[in-house]
Symmetry: C2
Subunit: 189 residues, 2 copies
Amino acid sequence: MPARRKRADALRNEQTLLAAAAAVFVTSGVDAPIREIAARAGVGVGTIYRHFPTRADLVVAVYRHQVEACAEAGPKLLADAESPLAALRQWVDLFVDFLVTKHGLANALQSDGSGFDALHAYFLDRLVPVCAQLLDAAVDAGEIGPGTRAYELMRGIGNLCVGRDDDPRYDPRRLVELLIRGLRRPRSS
Amino acid sequence: MPARRKRADALRNEQTLLAAAAAVFVTSGVDAPIREIAARAGVGVGTIYRHFPTRADLVVAVYRHQVEACAEAGPKLLADAESPLAALRQWVDLFVDFLVTKHGLANALQSDGSGFDALHAYFLDRLVPVCAQLLDAAVDAGEIGPGTRAYELMRGIGNLCVGRDDDPRYDPRRLVELLIRGLRRPRSS
DNA sequence: GACAAAACGGAACACTGCTCCGTATATTAA
DNA sequence: TTAATATACGGAGCAGTGTTCCGTTTTGTC
């Protein structure tokens, strides 16, 4: 049982860091140098690593509430929408929104590199079950064919959102829409 | 008018470098350290930079002939296959083959910052017209709906192939297949 | 063989991520 | 209040990148 509670300056710094990281992420993307975030927060790099051992931990902390909102929207949409497929569409739209507005996040999500495993794991643990529920409902309703798994679909969507976001020739949403259409059960035999 | 022709050792080194780079790319991906390629070729890093000022130049040179093969296969498939859509499928399959076997190349295809612009441009110049031809033929044959552009489709496919290739839960081909299915013209109005 | 142009090699610089430990501070007990 | 101790902090320092620069070596020509 921990008798001592967390020190006040540690708590303060954690908040400062989250704010600084959020600010830097919108400016320079989630790949911004750690030193830049440290400077912005007015702390040493050691402090960042103590609070958030990996970069992914920091990213997760910054975006946790938004991921949570996305996860909670799933069942809600399923209850409210016209059909399971409609709910799935709307949910995917939310997910894409989230990915493209945080620039670089989609890249980080697919990165197989050294330190993003935690981010990967967190997203998946939290969102894959939600996506699976929507998918299953649509299958049960006969709107889409079986065989596609939530993990794969989500990673596919994430991948489609990767890349520079200022290219008018490439709109991730159009391709995601194509992917969803490809999910539909064939009309004729 | 350049009186002198290129020196013999320079030509020799260029070939050595291309071979070394090709070998290293399949081992460590296109992001392999320059020093590793230099060591493999038995030259200094300066020599690499002299022959290929940017990493993209090197990558382009190494994969040029494979891209060429893919480009040439387009019209051939269109002539031989049962239908334009079938040809498109087969061509996309070839394209995916190319992307996944050279792991990391898909990353290069979408990479924004580092300097893959040359590779990007080459890919696009060479392959987009081929893809467009197949796409148009399938539209004309009434097999798929209009509105999808070759550039966007190719980038989408490239993005879907991004990521670690040893994960049984994620098979790029399944998702690409979904994407192609999404292209199809709806059967019933 | 002598000479200049071309090419080479790799040390050196700049910029990353990340660790480590001496110093400073907050909390608690006396 | 003061002393003791756990906790947290800062940033120098290490390791691994890409890239440049220039003294040295090789090549081609006369």
